[in-house]
Structure formats: C-alpha cells, structure tokens
C-alpha cells in the first residue's frame, strides 16, 4: 500500500532532553492514524517535525512524497495543519478567515468565493458568515478550523488535539468530518486525549517518554493488552512514563 508518511529513526533533542527518541513508523494513504501519548510524551514535537516546522536532530521523514527536512515548503503546501492552540483569527469574521486561509494556499478569487459558499453550507454556518470568530461557540470554531485546514485539498491533514474541551455531541460531528475527509482520500494524522476517539482510528500508536511503545489497530491493542476498553490500554502503557510533563 502507498504511504502518506514514512518516518525512520527520528530523533529530536532540546539540549540534554530527548523529546523524540528514535521513532519509526509509516501511515498509509487514506488512513486515519491516531497518535496518542500523555502530556509531554513528545507528540507535538514529532508532529511539528512532520509538518516541516522543526528540524530533527537526526533521522528522516518523508511526508506526502517529500523529504520533510530538505523540502519543508513542499510539505507545507501538501498538508493541512490544525494546531492545538486555536488557529483562526478571532478578530476576523468567518468569511475573512476563509479568504485569508484560502488566499495563503493559493486559491483564485473565484475559487475562494465558491469554496466559501460551499463550505459554509456544509457546516450549516451561512448565517454566521459575517460573525467575528471570537463570538462563535468552541465547537463551531473547531469545525471551521478543520474545514480551513483542508481548504486546499491537502494529501494529509495533521490535527493536534482538535476536540479538546468539546462536548460529546460536537466531538462526534467533528469526527464525522474526519471520516468524510478520509473517504475523499485525505490521510488524517490526529492526536487526542479522548480514548473513545482512539477507537475511531484505523490504527493508533502510543508514545511514552519520546518512544513509540505500541502501534496497531485499536482492536488488536485491546486484545494484546487484555483490556475491555481502550482507556485501560492507554493507562497500562502511559503510567509507566518516567519523565514529568514539565
């Protein structure tokens, strides 16, 4: 199967601290890949390297067909990234945010107008198009962020805790957007602290102290660790962590 992401022996050190400690894995095209780990396990650092935002200490990553460290700009143009910290501009309206993001990703004016209309319709947010983003409920903002992260039809979308603080109903709506994107051929690489969401992934990895301790389908991991639910799998692995989430 074709790979969207290939990672070989990736290491990132900050001074004497090894944030990411020799990880290797690959993600298939169209896969929904859950990248799990406790706070401070190294997930965000690893993700930032894959997005071409951070150089590794050593190792290699090929993302959307490009070497992420030789051609970070090519990678950035081929992926979408929704960061943990909310990535929209609060003082711009919904429509202005669309215009900004779509413009940055190089869509033409006509495309922007059409796409804005289509996406707002799909999100059921037409009535909010002139609302300042800071006035939107959190769940709406998250859905809007996601739509903007895939506005340029990237090959891969990276989602860093997209549903933090979102209630169970809205979280599910968000995941259906991920499913839809995956069905449209977009690979989704997602981190989450909700263990029911881990089960919505095709495969997951669990990072502990910078290393990948386990990687498989959620079902196989439950079997392997003899757990009824995924929360227990995570707990078994992550409580072994030695380093503090400082």
């Amino acid at each position: 199967m074709e790979s969207a992401i290939i990672v070989n022996n990736l290491v990132k050190k900050f001074g004497g601290f090894t944030a990411v400690d020799d990880i290797s894995f690959s993600v298939a095209k169209g896969e929904i890949f859950g990248f799990l780990g406790a706070n401070g396990a190294g997930k965000t650092t690893a993700m930032r390297m894959l997005c071409g935002l951070l150089k590794p200490t050593s190792g290699k990553a090929v993302v959307a067909g490009y070497d992420a460290f030789k051609y970070p700009e090519k990678v950035k143009a081929s992926i979408g990234y929704m960061s943990q910290r909310f990535s929209l501009y609060n003082d711009l309206t919904v429509r202005e945010n669309f215009r900004l993001y779509a413009g940055i990703y190089g869509l033409s004016n006509n495309e922007i107008v059409q796409k804005t209309q289509d996406m707002l319709f799909e999100l059921d947010m037409l009535s909010a198009k002139d609302t300042l983003v800071k006035e939107l409920p959190l769940g709406w903002k998250q859905k809007l962020s996601f739509s903007l992260a895939i506005v340029h039809k990237p090959q891969i979308v990276f989602l860093d805790e997209p549903t933090g603080g979102v209630d169970p109903g809205t979280r599910r709506q968000f995941w259906e957007m991920i499913y839809q994107a995956a069905e449209d051929g977009i690979t989704a690489f997602v981190t989450t602290h909700y263990m029911d969401e881990a089960e919505y992934c095709d495969r997951v990895s669990i990072m502990v102290d910078g290393r990948i301790e386990a990687m498989d389908t959620p079902k196989n991991l439950k079997l392997q660790y003899g757990c009824e639910d995924f929360d227990s799998v995570f707990y078994q692995l992550a409580r072994k962590a030695k380093r503090n989430a400082d």
Partner: protein, 302 residues
C-alpha cells in the same frame, strides 16, 4: 444543608440569554457536576456563584451569604479555578503561590497538608515562570492557588480540558481526597467518565437546567433501548443507519455505533429494516445505556 442556593437566576449578554431562570440547590459535601455543551451557560453560572459577576435577575446564596451584598465573605471562603489559565504568567510558580497566599491572608505553610500532594509535583519547577509550564503543571499550580486558603467550596470550570487520561485520573483522585477533607467540589467537564464520578449532576443546555440527579439515577431513568451496531465499513454503516425510518439517533460509540429507535418502534422493526441492505460483518445487539448515551440523547432533543 445547602451550601449553594441559586434562585431564579437569569443573565443576558446583549442579545444572548446566557442563563434563564436557573434554580439549583447544592448540598454540602457533594462533588457536583455541571454538564452541558459549549455555550450552555456553565461558565457564566460559575462566575455568578463566585460573585465575580452579578445576575440580572434572581439571587444566589453561597455558604449563606448573598453573592452581591456579601461578596467579600464569599471570596474568602471559596476557591475558583477558571477555565482559562488565569495566573500571572510572568511570575514564577512560587511567586504565584505566595501572592495568592498573601491575598488570602495565609501562607503556603499554614494549609500545607491540604496541598502537599499537588505542591510536591510542581516543587521541582518552583522557580520557573508560570507561563513556561506545560498544561498539566499549570493546572496543578492553579489548583494549589485555589486551595491555598483551605476553602469550603472549590469551583472548577473544566479543569481537565487538554489533560491526558492518566493525569485526569490522578486529578480526580485528588478531588476525591479534597472532598473527604470536607471540601464541596463544584465542577464542569466535557468528559462523561468524569460526570459519572460526581455524586450529583445537573445537565444544562441553552441557559436552562434540563435535569438534576445522581449519574446512576439519570441512567436508570433513561428508558430507551440502545442498540449497538457494527460492520466492516463503519462510516458507510453510520450513514445508512441515519436513513432508516425506525432510527431516531445513530452515533459513534467507541468501536461500535449506538442506535436509539423512534417511539413505538420495536427492535424487530429495526431488524427488518437493517437487513434490507447487506453490510459485510453486520452485527447488533441491545446494550444498557450509559451517561454518554443520555447526554447525546438530551443534547439532540429537549
């Protein structure tokens, strides 16, 4: 004895009605959960209970004190951890703690036993700027500051958002221990596994309280059959289930989907309908509802 009494409280921000005629009694010693979607009015209610904003209508009594007239009495006796990190980012960990201690006319030493477990975890970073701490450590520092004066009530507005499952478990163990020390805990959370650990919860939507009871009773009162369904292609299955006439709600639930049937529809009606199309690996059975099932039902209805 009711430690918090909320009587007919309404609050409006411009056109938005944040709270609409809220009535609520919270007994001493509870771990009380306020559960509801984003924008339901939970944070507004926290700010009113902690005397930080005034209600437009109605009144609130906390520990017998009126939240408007006797606000100073209340503030000295409650701890509040707001949803957004609100400590001083440019002060170090220990400076923040000392500042809070001084404001409340106490010291880190005075109630050290109460916060010892939490403080020990942040002590190695006590000279670090608060702004440079990780999310988990900020949360622990905020909890230390909220507890420094040994409050009678601890108000926690979504304290575990963005916190990993292991740390969440630890956090709830701390809450239970504090609760054993006679501190009443009032907490909001988007996590249903945390809602389940409360002694009592109120479900809030659109500024109104929809239901109040223990989590066990809420589930026991939820008289709906839940059908657990799975197949090889889960997303296809979900879209299919939503088109069925017999189905009221279909939603993902871990590695399965859950289905709630419309009124007066039997499981055999559903069985007939679902078998009208072929789904590879189709499997279904009835399961007991959980608090999460109830939450999804209530947020889609009511």
């Amino acid at each position: 004895m009711n430690i918090v009494e909320i009587n007919g409280v309404s609050k409006r921000y411009g056109k938005v009605e944040a709270l609409n005629e809220i009535n609520l009694q919270i007994a001493k010693g509870e771990i009380y959960g306020l559960i509801g979607p984003d924008g339901a009015g939970k944070s507004t209610l926290f700010r009113i209970m902690t005397s930080l904003i005034k209600p437009d209508k109605g009144f609130v009594k906390v520990l017998g004190f009126d939240s408007v007239n006797d606000y100073k009495e209340i503030r000295g006796r409650v701890g509040y951890m707001p949803g957004r990190f609100s400590l001083y980012q440019d002060l170090s960990v220990i400076e923040n703690i000392n500042l809070f201690a001084t404001v409340f006319n106490t010291s880190l030493k005075e109630n050290y036993r109460l916060i010892e477990d939490i403080y020990k975890q942040i002590e190695p970073f006590k000279n670090r700027r608060a702004g440079a701490l990780s999310g988990g450590m900020k949360q622990k520092l905020a909890l230390c500051c909220a507890l420094i004066h040994k409050p009678d009530i601890l108000f926690l507005d979504e304290p575990t958002t963005g916190v990993d499952p292991v740390s969440r478990r630890e956090f709830w163990e701390i809450l239970k221990r504090l609760n054993n020390e006679q501190i009443t805990v009032i907490v909001s959370t988007p996590y249903m596994d945390e809602a389940k650990q409360c002694s009592k919860i109120s479900l809030i939507k659109d500024g109104q309280i929809i239901k109040t009871d223990s989590p066990e009773m809420i589930v026991a009162d939820f008289k709906k059959d839940i059908i657990e369904v799975s197949a090889k292609n889960m997303f296809e299955l979900l879209k299919f289930l939503r088109k069925l006439n017999s189905v009221d709600l279909a939603y993902t639930y871990g590695d399965k989907h859950h289905v709630i049937l419309k009124d007066r529809i039997t499981i055999s009606d559903f069985e007939r309908e679902i078998k009208s199309a072929s789904h590879e690996g189709l499997d279904f059975c009835c399961v007991n509802p959980t608090i999460e099932d109830y939450y999804i039902y209530f947020s889609n209805n009511s």
